[in-house]
């Protein structure tokens, strides 16, 4: 019986192995370039997420790596310095990721230097449902705020964000209105932010702030 299955499926197995090998090769070749693109995209967002920050100055400093949790819940976060043009820290941009409705969501959280207030949020990558879940990327403007605009309202970084279906009142902090028809994607974003802004991470960043930044090693071309 087993021989019958193998004799029928040998082509599928062979193709799987060949394509797997080819894809691994492509990944080894392109992964550094993709990582560099992501780093550039992150640095570009610093001044948008933390007002007063300068991308060129901020990009010179090595991001702080913070390990949060233990065992299988261990997560490593990268926090980028958000410096103004005089080299004074204005805040942090924390790279975080987690499971969305369809696939992994990667996002950037902007917080002030003491990690007390959320300054902004930006989505680095997502593959949520087009037309519904992918609206988590919408920033909008003051007149017509999108989902991301809500993260500029100065929510508290030390309290968890909660998702509501009704519009929060102007003085209601840490409540985020879900994208219509995409509550799971909206909740995923808030969960990623809540997990990232743990006390352990906030304390580590405040400590790093006291120690000061270190320059990023310059790679010779």
């Amino acid at each position: 019986m087993k021989v019958k299955y193998i004799s029928q499926a040998w082509l599928v197995l062979l193709l799987s192995l060949s394509f797997g090998g080819a894809l691994a090769g492509v990944d080894v070749w392109l992964a550094p370039r993709i990582a560099k693109n992501k780093l550039d995209a992150t640095i570009k967002k610093i001044s948008i997420l933390v007002s007063g920050a300068d991308n060129a100055v901020s990009g010179r400093y090595k991001p702080v790596e913070v390990v949060v949790g233990e065992g299988k819940f261990k997560t490593t976060y990268e926090a980028f310095w958000a410096m103004d043009d005089a080299g004074k820290p204005r805040g942090w941009v924390i790279k975080a990721s987690g499971q969305g409705f369809a696939d992994k969501i990667e996002l950037l959280i902007g917080v002030d230097a003491k990690c007390e207030v959320i300054k902004g949020l930006s989505i680095l990558s997502q593959k949520e449902t087009p037309g519904l879940g992918n609206k988590i990327e919408d920033l909008g403007d003051e007149k017509k705020p999108g989902f991301l605009w809500q993260f500029h309202y100065g929510h508290r970084a030390n309290q968890p964000l909660t998702v509501t279906t009704a519009s929060p009142k102007p003085n209601e902090f840490n409540k985020i209105k879900a994208v219509g028809g995409a509550t799971i994607s909206s909740r995923s974003v808030c969960n990623i932010v809540n997990d990232a802004l743990s006390e352990q991470l906030r304390t580590a960043l405040v400590e790093a702030l006291k120690k000061g930044p270190t320059l990023r090693p310059v790679k010779k071309e």
């Binding site: 029928q8 499926a9 082509l11 599928v12 193709l15 799987s16 394509f19 080819a22 894809l23 492509v26 990944d27 392109l30 370039r33 993709i34 693109n37 995209a41 369809a102 696939d103 990558s125 997502q126 593959k127 949520e128 087009p130 037309g131 992918n134």
Partner: protein, 210 residues
């Protein structure tokens, strides 16, 4: 396997207009509607589909003698998924902004019916030359379909083509709806109606001459 069916040249020509994926076969509607709000996005999608279709058709044709009837769709999907992943990684590495703009629509090429259809109809039955010619023809046809819709939407919606302004805002008020999903349905419907009208007239003329 016997070399039946249309010749490579016929396959190539058929793919462009007589069996155009967008207007004749009405396949691959998801990217057709979703990424045609600009010519740059549409042409990048057309390029990614062309790469996947050509590679998948060639591989499928090469292994056509080994395909088991009940496993063929699995093999097609496996082959297509591998090439789509390569295209996706290439876009992320060399055209990061475009990769971001296209979002999930590049991985969704895996389920693009045009590619599975061509593997089933042509590549699994004919030789490499016919399969490659068919893939190139269908890719050109698909690119023409996307380009026609994207051109209409970008010009009317944004007054530009390839982000180059050809209709200044003072002369042409922007029809923002054309860049939104309703604009895609509207343009596709009108262009398809026009295409069908021209085809019907051409058929009528041929019959009258015969």
């Amino acid at each position: 396997m016997a070399m039946d069916g249309p010749t490579p040249l016929e396959r190539f020509i058929n793919g462009i207009l007589p069996e155009n994926p967008t207007y004749r076969q009405v396949l691959g509607m998801c990217p057709t509607l979703a990424v045609t709000n600009g010519m740059k996005e549409a042409m990048t999608m057309a390029g990614a589909v062309a790469f996947t279709l050509i590679c998948a058709n060639i591989v499928t044709s090469l292994i056509r003698g080994l395909l088991k009837p009940h496993l063929r769709i699995l093999v097609f999907t496996l082959t297509i998924a591998a090439f789509v992943t390569i295209a996706d990684r290439f876009l992320a590495a060399f055209l990061p902004d475009m990769s971001r703009a296209l979002g999930p629509y590049v991985p969704l090429i895996i389920v693009n019916c045009v590619i599975i259809c061509r593997c089933e109809v042509c590549a699994s039955k004919q030789g490499v030359a016919a399969a490659a010619a068919d893939a190139v023809g269908q890719s050109i046809g698909f690119a023409l379909g996307l380009a026609s819709i994207a051109a209409v939407r970008e010009i009317i919606g944004n007054g530009s083509i390839f982000e180059f302004t050809i209709l200044p805002e003072a002369y042409w008020p922007r029809w923002g709806i054309m860049l939104l999903p309703p604009g895609a349905f509207l343009t596709l419907g009108l262009l398809m109606g026009g295409f069908n009208l021209l085809s019907a007239r051409s058929e009528k003329r041929k019959k009258a001459l015969a």
